[in-house]
């Protein structure tokens, strides 16, 4: 294992901010969700890397990542259900059609 930890962290940082860019820019609801998945994945990488390289004798990061994957799955399911409901009511998949909370 001779890859310095900084490389991994740089990778996950880049992935994180690509996800942020996608979230802020895209108008399609599903595309925004996909960007969120990118963010979550970058965070998972971070946890796994910290555990493996900095504290190899322990398992906290490993299990955190495992559970994070599970929770992401559940959250994606619920979010997609909401999007389907939104589509039924607003007949649009654009995020700027949901503007009831506008001033």
């Amino acid at each position: 294992m001779n890859i310095p930890v900084e490389y991994f962290i740089a990778l996950s940082t880049l992935l994180f901010f690509i996800g942020v860019f996608g979230f802020v820019t895209r108008r399609n609801l599903v595309a925004m969700l996909i960007s969120i998945e990118l963010i979550l994945n970058s965070v998972d990488i971070n946890f796994a890397v910290f555990n493996r390289i900095l504290f190899p004798a322990q398992f906290e990061g490993f299990f955190f990542t495992l559970f994070s994957i599970g929770v992401s799955a559940a959250e994606t399911a619920v979010a997609l259900a909401i999007i389907i409901n939104v589509y039924r009511n607003y007949h649009s998949d654009q995020v700027n059609s949901i503007e009831n909370m506008k001033f």
């Binding site: 802020v24 995020v95 700027n96 909370m101 001033f103």
Partner: protein, 660 residues
């Protein structure tokens, strides 16, 4: 304590005001009237008893030979500084006891009379829409009585000022009693504003006086330390006391309708006639006279020249008012100008006094007070008679009257008695009081004496003109008997007070007034009452006779062409006199063009644009800020996330900078 009931004299009318004011509309009208009248009847009894106690039972103080000044109670209300306190008290001196009698007598008669005047009577008199508020009337009358009583028993000048203002308020309320009528509202505003404007000078005078002298008390008998204080102030600042006293007199001039502040009194006749009788004939308008009389010892000692100025102003006023009264066609306005003239007489009497010796110049004080007493009685009588006439005829104007001696006999006799009294004919009351005044004027200067004699002749002329025009001459009713209302006599509740006041007018002249009230406090004899007629007395009787004779010749026969011919020969003079020599218009010009135009408009502009503008601007700013911030809540999740992230990044950067 002898006068332990004295606080009731102030408390009872105030309670009556509260009860009638708050619960009056729930009572029946006669109940409200009875409460007011009974309360005032008890006040009348109390003041007669007080006079009896003061003058006869307790009598003169053995050591000084004067009637003692009794301070019944005097408690501190406000402390301005350690030395300067504002007290409310009750003080009895000869003139205040006399005023108690005057006020309660006339007020009592007015209360009884108002039962008839203010009540609804469908058969004889049709009610105008605005003539309601019987209970309110009695409430205001009670408040006025209390205020006037508080004024005359004041222990210090500030209490007098406070009740002075209260009296002004009552006058405003009562003049504007028929508030739906536009002219009444206008008149009440005018009265209040003019007197309030004069009271400003009164207040400045009080402030000067109290600041330098260090006290509000003005009675040297009750406060002996005042003598020393006044002497030291006069020695240090010779201008102070004359100016302070004269400023105070200006306030009194406003209330007592001296030229040029007299403009409110004729318009004040818009109020109901009992109000005119009580306030604008007998009591409130003599407040100025009473003020000068109370401060008289200070005036004579420290401001004798200013006292003479008062005499000059008052003399001119009495002549002016008499001239205007000769041409008035509204009987109440004629009586109002007569009142102005007679009050000026009282102030002339006070003004020509130049020493506190009873016979070397002190005569004026006693004469002025005596005239106040008798004038209150017969002027109230005249006003109440005119009220009876107005109620029967339905209008103030003389063109609807005439020949009423057949239909209103009692009113005829009473009015005649009042006219004889005011003209100064022996043996009625006016003769004694007026001639004492004229004698005092002759002592001062012969010109003043002849001037006042001339004015008394004019008084006789215009009063008898009024009398003949109302009661004799061509009857308005008889010109067209079918369409016009037949006049009848007023009911007992109205002519009872008339008869009472007429009897007082006949006999009041014989009261040995000099025993009770005089400049030095020592008893003085009134020569005329002992049938010692001086030449002055004969001259004034002659002047009265000429006046009466002229009036009789001009106005007694029906359709005498002489008055109209005179009016045609001097049209401008006649018109000017009718319009009161345009003084009102001059004041209107002054207020509207100068005060409103040059002072009020710029200030109003400043208030509206600068002061309101600041607050409007602040509100506008807040609203604009809100409108700017509002779009931040766009309902767009992406913006929220972006801002959230921005904030986090910024916070991290700040922390980095701080920590590193």
């Amino acid at each position: 304590m002898e006068y332990s009931y004295a606080f009731l004299i102030l408390l009872l009318p105030f309670l009556s005001f509260l009860v009638l004011g708050l619960c009056g509309m729930k009572m029946k009208k006669p109940v409200a009237g009875l409460i007011g009248t009974i309360m005032l009847g008890s006040l009348f009894a109390m003041s007669l008893y007080t006079a009896y106690e003061y003058f006869f039972v307790i009598g003169r103080d053995a050591a000084t030979g004067l009637y003692p000044t009794v301070t019944v109670f005097n408690f501190t209300w406000l402390k301005f500084t350690e030395l300067l306190t504002f007290n409310i008290g009750f003080r009895l001196t000869p003139i205040s006891v006399m005023m108690l009698i005057v006020i309660t007598t006339v007020s009592f008669m007015v209360h009884i009379y108002s039962f008839g005047y203010m009540a609804e009577r469908d058969d004889k008199y049709k009610f105008e829409e605005y003539e309601h508020g019987f209970q309110r009337f009695y409430a205001y009358l009670s408040l006025f009585t209390m205020s006037m009583l508080g004024l005359v028993v004041a222990t210090n000048i500030f209490q007098m000022y406070m009740f002075w203002e209260l009296v002004g308020v009552c006058s405003y309320l009562l003049i504007g009693f028929y508030y739906p009528k536009h002219s009444a509202v206008h008149a009440s505003k005018k009265a209040f504003i003019v007197t309030r404007f004069a009271d400003l000078f009164f207040l400045i005078g009080i402030l000067f006086f109290s600041y330098y002298v260090g006290t509000f008390n003005y009675d040297m008998n009750a406060n002996p330390e005042l003598i020393g204080k006044l002497a030291s102030v006069a020695a240090k600042y010779s201008w102070l006391l004359p100016s302070a006293l004269f400023l105070m007199f200006i306030g009194g001039a406003g209330k007592s309708a001296m030229f040029p502040l007299h403009i409110w009194l004729p318009d004040a006749m818009e109020g109901p006639t009992p109000v005119s009788a009580l306030i604008h004939a007998a009591t409130m308008v003599v407040a100025g006279v009473y003020q000068v009389a109370s401060l008289f010892p200070i005036w004579v000692q420290y401001a004798p020249n200013q006292l003479h100025w008062i005499a000059y102003i008052a003399a001119f006023t009495s002549f002016y008012a008499a001239a205007v009264a000769c041409c008035q066609s509204d009987i109440k306005r004629g009586l109002a100008f007569s009142t102005i003239s007679q009050i000026a007489y009282m102030l002339v009497a006070l003004g020509v006094s130049c020493a506190i010796d009873n016979h070397e110049g002190g005569l004026g004080y006693m004469a002025g007070m005596f005239h106040l007493f008798t004038h209150a009685m017969f002027k109230a009588l005249l006003f109440l008679c005119s009220g009876a006439i107005i109620v029967i005829i339905g209008s103030n104007f003389k063109q609807y009257m005439g020949g009423l001696h057949k239909y209103m006999p009692i009113t005829n006799i009473c009015f005649l008695i009042g006219c004889i009294a005011i003209s100064g004919v022996w043996p009625l009351a006016g003769f004694f009081s007026k001639d004492e005044i004229v004698s005092a004027c002759f002592e001062f200067s012969p010109f003043m004496g002849w001037f006042m004699t001339l004015v008394s002749g004019m008084t006789a002329f215009y009063m008898f003109r009024l009398y003949y025009v109302i009661f004799w001459g061509q009857s308005y009713y008889e010109l067209d008997p079918e369409n016009r209302k037949k006049p009848g006599e007023v009911p007992f509740v109205m002519w009872g007070p008339l008869v009472f006041l007429a009897i007082v007018s006949i006999f009041a002249g014989w009261i040995p007034f000099g025993h009770f009230v005089s400049a030095t406090g020592q008893s003085m004899e009134i020569g005329l009452q002992h049938f010692e007629f001086t030449s002055v007395a004969w001259f004034s009787l002659l002047a009265a006779a000429i006046g009466i004779g002229l009036a009789t010749w001009m106005y007694l026969p029906k359709n005498n062409p002489v008055p109209d011919m005179l009016a045609k020969k001097m049209p401008r003079l006649h018109k000017a006199a009718l319009n009161r020599f345009y003084i009102d218009d001059a004041w209107q010009f002054f207020t509207h063009k100068i005060v409103f135009g040059c002072f009020s408009k710029p200030i109003a502009w400043f208030d509206r644009h600068v002061i309101d503008g600041t607050f409007n601007f602040m509100a506008w700013g807040a609203q604009e800020a809100g409108e700017t911030i509002r779009p931040w809540q766009s309902g767009d999740v992406r913006s929220y996330a972006a801002w959230f992230l921005t904030g986090t990044v910024a916070l991290t950067l700040i922390l980095l900078c701080i920590l590193s």
